[in-house]
C-alpha cells in the first residue's frame, strides 16, 4: 500500500544498482547524509501527526529511521521513550496507540471484603485508548504523506553524494 515496488520504478532501480556498485566509503556517506535529511523530516511528520500526549510520547518520540544500501525503513515504538507513570512500554504496546484498542473490553476479577467475603469486580481496562482503526492514527498516515518525498530525498542524496565523491569533495 505504501511500499513502492522496485520493479515499477526505474529511479529506485538506478539508486539500488548504483549503490550496490559503489565502494564502502561512498555507501557510508550516502547512508549518513540520507539519514541526516530523511530522519528529521519523518520525525517532524510524526510530531505533527500526534494528536495527544500519549501519541506524542509513545509514537512520535520513539520514531526511528534506518537507512540501508537498498532500502529506507521507518519505525515507531523502537525505544522505551520518556517513561510513563503507569509503566506503559512503547516497545511492547505501541500498536495500541497506532491501531487503537477494544474500548469495550472488560476484565472481571474476584475481590473481597474485610470479613473475607468475596465478590466479582468488572472493570473496563482499555477505555483510555482510541477505538480500533486499521489505517492507523499516526505512523501510517505519516508514511502515506511522506513516502514519495522520502524516496525522492534518498534519490537526490545518492546523486549528490556520488557527484561530490567524483569531484573529490568531502561532504
Amino acid at each position: 500500500m505504501f511500499r513502492l515496488d522496485v520493479n515499477s520504478s526505474r529511479g529506485i532501480q538506478a539508486v539500488v544498482l548504483s549503490l550496490s556498485q559503489a565502494n564502502r566509503e561512498v555507501r557510508k556517506l550516502v547512508r549518513q547524509q540520507s539519514q541526516a535529511v530523511i530522519g528529521p523530516e519523518f520525525q517532524k511528520a510524526m510530531n505533527e501527526g500526534a494528536s495527544d500526549l500519549m501519541e506524542s510520547k509513545g509514537l512520535a518520540l520513539t520514531t526511528k529511521t534506518t537507512l540501508s544500501d537498498r532500502n529506507v525503513t521507518l519505525g515507531t515504538g523502537t525505544k522505551k521513550g520518556p517513561g510513563f507513570s503507569g509503566g506503559f512500554d512503547p516497545r511492547i504496546n505501541a500498536r495500541v496507540l497506532e491501531f487503537g484498542a477494544k474500548r469495550d473490553a472488560v476484565k472481571t476479577y474476584r475481590s473481597h471484603r474485610k470479613g473475607g467475603k468475596t465478590f466479582n469486580v468488572t472493570r473496563h481496562t482499555q477505555r483510555q485508548f482510541k477505538p480500533n482503526k486499521r489505517a492507523g492514527y499516526v505512523f501510517y498516515p505519516a508514511i502515506a504523506q511522506m513516502a514519495p518525498r522520502i524516496l525522492s530525498l534518498w534519490t537526490q542524496t545518492v546523486v549528490r553524494t556520488f557527484h561530490d565523491a567524483m569531484e573529490g569533495k568531502a561532504p
Binding site: 513502492l4 515496488d5 522496485v6 526511528k64 529506507v72 518525498r149
Partner: protein, 384 residues
Amino acid sequence: MAKPIELSLVANVNDFLRGTNDVEKALEGVGDELDGLAKEAGRSTGRMEQDFKSLAREVKDTDRVIDNMSSSTLKNAGSKTAAFKQEAVANFSEVTSSFSGSMTSITDLVQGTLGGVASGIAGPVGLAFGGAAVAVGLLGSAIASVGDAAEADGEKAAAWAQAYVDAGGKILTTAQTVAGAQEIILDPARYQEAKDAAEEWGVSVSVAVLALAGNEYALAEATKASEAARQQTIDTAYEAAEANRDLTKTEIDFASEAVAGGTRLRELQGEMAAGAQQADVFSEALRLTAENTEGASTTVDEFGDKVTALPDGTVIYIDAETGQATTDVDAIKDKIYSVPTNVDTTVAVYGDFTNLEGGLANIFKKQQKVPVGIGVLKQYGTNY
C-alpha cells in the same frame, strides 16, 4: 511480545538484486536505453544523436572509473567529471526542448536522465538534479497507482461508453454533463476528488467538476492549465540543472502536483477515449445490422445521412460525416437543434418517434430548415 512497528518503503529489492546476476551488465543495459533514446531523438536533430551516443560511451567508461575508485583516488577523479557535467547540462536542455508536449514524454525524460545516473553514477549530475523534479512526481504517482486502478478503469470506461451511446455521438449532451456534475457534487468522495483535481490543475472547483463530468469546454480549460504547470516545471528543472543547484521544497511540491494533475487528466481522457471506443463498437454493430438485414429499406436524406428502416420497425440512423450509427431519435433531434435557428416560430411535432418509418424520418429531418420552437424543446426536455 510484540515488536516495534516497522515498514520498509521499497519492496522486492532483495529479489531484484538477486535476480540481477551481472550488475555491470544491468547498468550497461540502461546505457543502451540511452542509446535507443538517442536514435529516436535523432530524427529531429543529428547533433543530439551524437551527444547521446558519446554520453552513452562515456557512461560505460565511467563504470570502470567508479569500480576502481577508492578513497585515495577520489581526488584525482575530480577533473574528469567537469567535462561530463558540461555535456550533461547540454543534453538536458536538448531533451527538454525535444518534448513533444505529451505527458508521456516526461517519463521518457526521467528514464533517460535517471538511467544515465544509474549506469554511470557519472557526471550527469545537473541532468539528474533537473530530472529529480520530475522524478518526485513520478515516484509519487507510481505509489498512488498501486492498487485496483486497472479494474476501476474498465468500469469507468464502461460508464463513459454508456454515456456516449446515450448521446448517440462523440459529444455528450449538455443535459448529460449537467447531470454528471450534479452527481459529483452530491457525492462527498467524488467531490473531494474534484477539489483535489482543481488544485492540481490550477482551475476553479466548478471547472474541475464539469471536466470530470466530461464537459468539453472544462476539459480544454483543465488541459490548458495543466499544460502551463507542466511547462513551468520543466523550466524550473532546466534552470536548476543549469545553476547546478538542488530544487527547493516549494519547487518539488509544485512539480509533483503538476505531474499528479497531468496523470489525473491523462487517466480521465484515457477513460473517455476507451469509453468512446466501446461506444464505437456498438455504433459499428448497428451499422452492420442496417446494411445486412434482409428487407430493410434505406433512404438517403438531403444531408447524405442514411436512414434505414428495419422490417420490425427499428430505425437506424447513420451520420454521413462521422459514420456514427444510432437508434436514438433524440439524437436525431439534437442534430436538428444543433443547426442555428431563431427560436421564434413554433413547430409542433408530436407523435411516437420510436417506430418512425423511414419516410417519416425524412419528413422530420426536412423540418430542420424551419426554425424549431420552444414547444418541441419543452416536449423533449433538451436543455439548450
